[in-house]
Symmetry: C4
Subunit: 368 residues, 4 copies
């Protein structure tokens, strides 16, 4: 990594966002029908590598089931509105009507309601009965408290997702999550993150994660950079974590941990770039918030936006461009990368002459 002298006492590594790079076609092209987009993690297989993020604006039990039916993995937030309210439809309606000034306060109030363990179990069971791959997410802070409820209720994939998740959390008060022991004792595969550096990712891999979420502060609903000064541009973050995957593959004697880019991919072109930088899959929020059948009704927010005394996200407004089915699998009626996400990924891989995502990770890129 090249470095800059910021001043005589500080150096900084050079980092790149998706906007800084582009993918370059090679001398061969390929028929799109010959491109295989399947993604497999642990025992679960999906038709494409697009994962719906555990965000209340896009993931209700109903929409999680719908998106699963469209071939991808969808994750429900198990400490969001659906485990705080028996029926959160009034809250959704409130948020949909709020102007941007009052939206944060409304979120803060809505998410201050206590999480109900019985609702956690009920939501998991509801997904299980629908026959989809059941994936639920908790923050690192709540994992100790609720994981038994969730595993007992029959989750297939366990997602631990926070602004930053580290293998080593230090606290002088009370019990903290020892991620390594936790994953070891758990029977289900764990996907954990966000991380943004080689070292942090390697530690999560060593702790046993089946997948690592790359990113923080990059998405449409994050203002982490403004509030906390934290940011790692995503092209660099994904490439760093992909390097950790290779290192860990070697040191573990063959364990392949999936790299899942999380956030900062508003358009299909960004997802293509994430794969080109080494991601195996992409977790997206805002592209699905544009669906007419998303629970957020055109509004989009993350869990950071709901923090009681330091909110770090806002409620974004998106034009609704089509159904979840059209957004994910097409056909598209827009030319801006917001519809037919799977078709766009397939087209890019075929134009560059590759056959699948793993091969495509070798594609040439340039800086813009």
């Amino acid at each position: 990594m090249s470095e800059f002298d910021i001043g005589r006492s500080k150096r900084a590594r050079e980092a790149f966002s998706f906007d800084d790079i582009s993918v370059v076609p090679s001398r061969r092209t390929r028929d799109g029908a010959d491109v295989n987009l399947n993604w497999q993690i642990d025992a679960y297989s999906f038709a494409h590598p697009i994962v719906a993020a555990p965000m209340d604006s896009i993931a209700s039990p109903e929409s999680v089931i719908a998106v699963s039916g469209l071939g991808g993995l969808a994750v429900l937030d198990l400490e969001g509105l659906w485990t705080r309210y028996e029926d959160p439809s009034k809250i959704y309606a409130q948020i949909a009507k709020a102007d941007s000034f009052e939206a944060t306060s409304i979120l803060q109030k809505a998410y201050s309601q206590a999480i109900k363990p019985e609702l956690v179990a009920a939501r998991v069971s509801q997904l299980r009965s629908a026959g989809v791959v059941v994936a639920g997410a908790l923050s690192p802070e709540r994992t100790l408290q609720f994981h038994k409820t969730i595993v007992d209720a029959g989750v297939d994939i366990f997602v631990i997702r926070g602004t930053t998740v580290s293998a080593e959390h230090v606290s002088s008060r009370g019990e903290t999550l020892n991620l390594k022991e936790f994953i070891y004792e758990l029977d289900v595969p764990v996907i954990a993150g966000g991380v943004a550096t080689y070292k942090a990712a390697l530690h999560l891999m060593r702790a046993g994660a089946a997948g690592v979420l790359v990113g923080f502060g990059g998405g449409a609903t994050h203002t982490t950079a403004d509030v906390l000064g934290l940011r790692v541009p995503m092209a660099t973050a994904v490439s760093e974590v992909a390097a950790a995957r290779r290192e860990y593959l070697d040191e573990s004697g063959g364990r392949y941990v999936h790299v899942i880019a999380d956030g900062a991919m508003g358009r299909s072109g960004d997802m293509v770039k994430a794969l080109a930088c080494g991601a195996d899959a992409v977790m997206v929020g805002s592209p699905l918030a544009r669906a007419t059948d998303a629970p957020g009704r055109g509004r989009h927010w993350g869990r950071e936006a709901c923090h009681g005394d330091l909110p770090r996200g806002s409620v974004a407004n998106f034009e609704q461009v089509g159904s979840m089915a059209e957004i994910i699998n097409g056909p598209s009626r827009t030319a801006d990368g917001t519809m037919n996400l799977v078709g766009a990924i397939r087209k890019s891989i075929s134009i560059c002459g590759y056959t699948d995502v793993k091969e495509f990770q070798r594609v040439e890129i340039i800086t813009n």
Copy 2:
């Protein structure tokens, strides 16, 4: 080429767009009357190196004949509106009235109409009777199907133009175009592209192309970067392909393949930069879409914008600044590089002290 570490697992070459560079006058200046702008490809000679792109918004049979009369090469799209409709004037009118939201759907519908082989032949004959150099374009996908019709009808120059054209297209279903055999058997010179890299261009040259179109996703009507994540900034792309021309000139023992920059040149200054980077000619669309006598009536779109399930372009709106004649040969009444394109190229070459485009390719450039 200098390279950057994007992250530990990925490197990227540094690339430059026309906006990143400028041309630098040298210590000598020259009288504009002493500058020779002639461009010759195969047996055909033109008064200037500006080529009208095969786009329905600027190229009807009538406007192709008109632009040819202004000294340049003009290409008709042989799988556009003019070979799908006996009289496409109603379609043009529809597009001219559409708002930007519905425009894509209107294009998708209009271009879903089947291509009529008899119209393909008729359009070529129409141009032939007008006595101009007859140039027609097909996409790589349609070339096998229609090339005989076209050659039989008497085309002079055959253009194969797609987002990406490669010398090697891989498909597991059916017959695909073997470009090398195809060109070898054809009696007319072939211009093919877009390409954006040294290697891809070299393969097209080896396949026998008389000219190579450089670019994709750069133009006013392209959103390739948003949708597909693909882009190669044009200054770099042209310079790479110009290097391939030199390499191929050597390995072929003297065959000079023309480098034609295609797209991302909205103003005459951009065309000057393309030539300075090594282009022999420039294929333009949007500058001519500003003509009062362009068939698009101020609207401009590319064939990508008409794709049925993954449109990658939009309908742009341009102020109409003058006639085709004024835009190409002047005089200009605007100061923004949209009129008197030929005059501007002549002026730049003369200010830098050179006598023709070939010499001007050596001019010094700087980064902005």
Copy 3:
């Protein structure tokens, strides 16, 4: 420091602003409750490292006392409105109502009124009776004239603040301030600046300053770059001065001079970056101008904006987001880094796994 050739006769060092960089979390995280934000300079200790700048828009005697009560250091401008007018409330009202066109003239007129020595003494005494740490600021030009009045009135910390303060001011007319002798003879600690380079900071440290203010021309109310062409991007400036602190610590055998970033930190994320670049504390204006209880009533200006014949700042308009207490200590209702500044700094340090500001100065940063 890397350097560029601007041209054959001039080289320039590469410099970075806060917008150019971000902080990168490491592999460890820490409980926010375990982070210690105390800041101590000379004999005075504060709950956090945020210093309110000596600017009339945010610092009246009343608000200085209030901000002190919120745990930080607040400085009163002793050559501003409060020492020119017995009661400046009419002036404040005038500025609050002025449109941007006439605001500069109103400031020029208001600040042309003579400073009254008896008011200088009275303001200091007023702060002293409130029991807060008394800090007052003068420009280098007025220091000789008023410092005795101020010290006699019982100031605890003396601030000398100008666009540029140097240890060596050369003049052919009359008496000038010899900073080294002045500080030596003074009984109270002196904070001086702005400076922006290693060398200038080292000279101020050798002159005896207890703290050095880093910056000029970066703040919301400065237009120094437009008017004077002077600017040093803040990330570089802070890092340079932090290097001078280390050099001086060594050459003085252990005297630790505080580095206080001053200006260009409109959001909490910027303050985090200043600390990451080596600052011990941050002096802020515009973030506090957003307080409903700031004397400027949403207007914000610096002393440069009041210059009689070369004003170098304007009157900015800020939305009032909450009380001083909420802005500094939270809770926040906004997601843009304008509220709960202390909470944001604490959160960043904890996410990066550090325990205090001194440790946090080692955190990794990247360029955006």
Copy 4:
């Protein structure tokens, strides 16, 4: 100079504009009263180094006399409105009322009127009777035709100003200006330009120029980059030409040719940067077009904007901020670098601790 690979066949030097750099104060400051801003070229001495450009929008005979009275050099365009019309006041009125769409056509028509030799002589005489330093400008194309008239009428300084002026102009038709012979035979000092490179400047110096104008296409009224693709960012251009001055000083055994930055300096901060990069003086247009007593009445245009078939500039609209006297010598009522230009230059030099422009050319600069 560092260079980039644009692509395999083209390299480009890295260049910097004034916006890319800033001036850095050193450890010393100086009393502004001790700064000497005098500028002397040939036998003529001026109170400050600001030169009013030969542009009809700012330079009528009356305003040239007025600006001269404010201490600087002012140049009249001798092939502009004042030598085409006995009384151009109607033309000025027309331009002042034109909307931006029709302005170019109005200029083209107005400047198509023939130049009257008797008016050329009369304007020079008018300036001479006013007792000011008489400076008149011609383009290289008109120099042969009118220089005798002008010299006979008693010009003190002869300015040859075009987009690009080279020492070697090549033409196959008729007589061209041999600059070296021309200057040698002329009795008055010649200032010539624009140039933007070391080599071109060195040739002008060897041809005998007393001063060299640096720049083209950078100013508010230029659109050279859009139309012609030509541009050299000014910080680099000035530094290159300053290096040529040093080279020529050596090879000529002591002849000091003045480097005059011309254009792209809209604010006083830009003028400071030009001097910091090595300029001896600055020729400005747009800053003076903001004067209430400029002949353009808030409109501003260059001679390129009037070209008959390839106009390369537009008519800009400026807010009128104050009188010529206030703009040049202050006092200022604005904080954006548009008033008290001389005061701002003086202030910057004093803050950086220097005594005059020649010393200030050594000041440290950074990239932003």
